[in-house]
Amino acid sequence: MSVKELEKSATLEHAGDGHFHGDGILGEQFETLEQQNTSYLIGMWAFIVQEVLFFGAIFTAYAIYRFKYVLEFTLAHHELSVPIGTLNTFVLLFSSYTMARAVRAAMQNRHKKQAFYLLLTFLFAGVFMVNKYFEYGAKFEHHLFPGGDYDAHTIVEHAEKKGELRVAEENGKEVYELGKTRDGQFTVFKKVTPEEFEQRTRLFFGFYFVMTGLHGLHVLVGMIIIAILIGRAWIDHMKNKPVADYMPVEMTGLYWHLVDIVWIFLFPLLYLIGR
């Protein structure tokens, strides 16, 4: 056989290896479906480990500064909307549930059901992103995005109202006293200059935007993949395909649970603790 003949020979891939490669489910590098499926699972888990270290490094940095600037970070985190955060937590939890249902449907080759649950997951993810949009919008509006027009005065005002911050003057300079009001008595825990307060709250919002931004990016990527899977499941349904490969859904499921778990860590760390 010459090169030309070889190119024509469409069956070359599996010439004579006597294995089932039908329907394009089994990749040509694999011998059996079992091998392929476990390969994908191990690969996905390796990817998840990688993601954990990726987020882990930034969680570490956050934890260090949360500890170092505990009062400033606490005041800054009051600006985050717990209702929206809680809503988003439940939205993501539900989406994980619908994702699990979609995986189950895929394993049972029930394409329509699978498409339905994937669509639900997609919609939940969409709700999450819409919430995120409004949440980010509010931060931009109050100049809490750590860009050029960052301004901590919203935090200062709110903290003053709550009795956790007092603006004082010493040596002719403005100083923020951070503390707590109990029984009408203000106790000072720490004094900072306005510049320091701005720097540290800016750092908090820096972490907030980087962490939730990276997480949001993961949600977006997940939505794209889910959209493709919906399309594929629907085509399988229309064609009445008896058997389809469930691994893409299974792996997307793993990924989606990872995205969910990252949020489960983000939400208390950024929104809740210290309240």
Partner: protein
């Protein structure tokens, strides 16, 4: 006619069965992706080498008279960034891991061929970002990007370079994931863990580091870029941050990254020494597990880069202790290689010369590491030319010698052509001599205190620096030669059609055509012998089973 009996150049192989540009750029074939990487990183090796030449020319005289200090700083930054992120880290894993690893374990391809191609595109995109950053004025942060200099002081396209390294980092992660799964799941029947060639063990350890370490440096550098753009004080103390935190996060990856550069080379050396001594690698299990030990302990020693930063004495002691421990597996490997040569039949071919050169240079690099593991001497030597010499002995003397050994060893398999042996030997000799001439004087300079990254230096160190610069021209010639004769051999080299020109053991030599068939093996082979079974020349390591009769209409699988 059965496929196995094709002869001549018309034989369909992975190189000639499709020849369009698209068939290369969209290939899922691990062998072709290896070649893509080879071409790409060769370009960066040349660029990084050019920057090194500029550095050495500047240092030929004590006064900074050739380049301005700004250009000089940009040169060593370009040299470091290119050589480390765009050459050494992908070098052996992405080229020879891709080309040879599936062949060695009897697989048709890596587990995720598309991810493999994606990895090359990530790498290329990242490399282009770095190139654009370099050509748009360059960056002068050093490859370490130490804060707060990189985040608050340095000018230029630092963020773009960081994005480039971020992308190249993910290319490395994808390669790592791919090899981990490939080694776990794609081994041919009979290829048990302890029948694996030691190169595969080394690649397994390397992949672990790539997957566990790279994401940390990716996010860390991203935070530097964020700090640059949005002035949030993560690492800059003037903004409330901590510059030492950066060093912790950076070295958490970048120390293990040194092992990404050296472990695959060690794997290659095991292969080459065994193949050219015609003997099973001595102490197979010890060599295999020492790779894993290096990968694991290597994650716990990062603080030895920071003894002089004022980190706590107790932390320093722990890091120093673990650094002494991590030296042991390398010693075990070296002694086992020596014992492999003992009572072997040593063939002095080019790959073996590089492997012997590797042992010479790596031993010097490793033993001078002891000066740096000891805290008291470390503090005197750190950030001097002693460090520069030490890591060049390990990463260039070790890493690139290993890379060149691999390149010559697998060249006939990759291309179907033999390189010219005489020129190969000459180049190996030039590299060895030139390398020692370049870097040995730097140990002396470093002990005398010459700081690294200096553009000018006191007069009394001129002679040693001239020596080093002279050596670098020999070294440069030594590197230029393979580039020329290997390219030449593509067209004029002796045609190799036999499967096993070296008489080596291993599936890639015994069962794979030269150059390999697009699908490596006709059918998945069955492995019956351990690796390097030179004591039983009559027994093949494995065989390709006869085709099973296809029952029409019947079930199969």
């Amino acid at each position: 006619m059965a496929t196995a009996t094709y002869t001549g150049t018309d034989k369909p192989n992975y190189l000639n069965w499709k020849t369009t540009v698209a068939s290369w750029l969209l290939t899922y074939d691990h062998k072709r992706i290896g070649i893509l990487y080879l071409v790409t990183i060769s370009i960066f090796f040349a660029l990084g080498g050019l920057a090194a030449a500029m550095i050495r020319m500047e240092l030929a005289t004590p006064k900074g008279d050739l380049l301005t200090s700004d250009v000089y700083n940009k040169m060593f930054t370009a040299h470091g960034v290119i050589m480390i992120f765009l050459f050494l880290i992908p070098s052996i894993p992405a080229v020879f891991g891709n080309f040879a690893l599936p062949l060695m374990i009897g697989a048709r391809d890596v587990a995720f061929p598309r991810l493999n191609l994606l990895s090359w595109y990530f790498f290329t995109a990242g490399a282009l970002c770095v190139l654009v950053a370099l050509f748009r004025g360059g960056i002068d942060t050093g490859w370490t990007f130490y804060t707060p200099y990189s985040s608050s002081f340095a000018k230029g396209e630092v963020s773009l370079a960081i994005v480039g390294i971020f992308l190249a980092g993910f290319a490395s992660i994808f390669t790592g994931i791919n090899f981990l799964v490939t080694i776990h799941k794609m081994r041919a029947p009979g290829m048990t863990w302890f029948r694996l060639p030691l190169f595969v063990w080394a690649m397994y350890a390397t992949s672990l580091i790539q997957v566990l370490g790279t994401p940390v440096v990716a996010i860390t550098l991203l935070l530097v870029a964020v700090e640059r753009s949005f002035r949030i004080g993560i690492f800059d103390p003037n903004l409330g941050g901590d510059p030492i935190l950066y060093q912790h996060l950076f070295w958490f990856y970048s120390h293990p990254a040194v092992y990404i550069m050296i472990l695959p080379a060690m794997g290659v050396i095991s292969e080459v020494i065994s193949a050219f001594s015609k003997r099973r690698v001595f102490g197979y299990h010890f060599v295999a597990f020492s790779s894993l030990a290096i990968a694991i302990i290597g994650f716990l020693v990062w603080g030895h880069h920071m003894f002089s930063t004022g980190q706590s004495m107790y932390a320093g002691i722990v890091f120093s202790f673990l650094t002494w421990i991590v030296a042991i597996p390398s010693a075990i490997k070296t002694f086992n290689w020596m014992a492999t040569i003992w009572k072997g039949r040593v063939h002095w071919e080019t790959p073996m010369l590089y492997a012997l050169g590797f042992m010479g240079l790596f031993v010097i690099g490793g033993l001078t590491g002891l000066h740096l593991a000891a805290m008291a001497t470390n503090v005197h030597l750190t950030d001097t030319y002693f460090i520069v010499a030490h890591f060049h002995y390990v990463m260039v003397g070790g890493g690139i010698m290993g890379y060149l050994a691999a390149l010559h060893f697998w060249w006939p398999k990759m291309t179907g052509r033999m390189y010219p042996e005489g020129w190969g030997k000459l180049a190996a000799l030039l590299v060895f001599v030139g390398f020692n001439l370049t870097f040995f004087p730097q140990f002396i300079l470093g002990y005398m205190g010459m700081p690294r990254r200096y553009h000018s230096y006191p007069e009394e160190w001129a002679v040693l620096n001239v020596l080093s610069t002279a050596g670098s021209s020999v070294l440069g010639l030594g590197y230029l030669l393979p580039l020329i004769y290997l390219t030449w051999s593509l067209k004029y080299g002796k045609v190799v059609t036999e499967r096993n020109p070296w008489g080596a053991r291993g599936l890639e030599w015994e069962l794979v055509d030269t150059p390999p068939d697009p699908h490596n093996f006709e059918r998945t082979p069955i492995v019956t012998r351990p690796a390097y079974d030179y004591n039983h020349p009559e027994e093949p390591t494995g065989f390709v089973p006869k085709p099973r009769p296809v029952v029409v209409g019947g079930k199969d699988g």
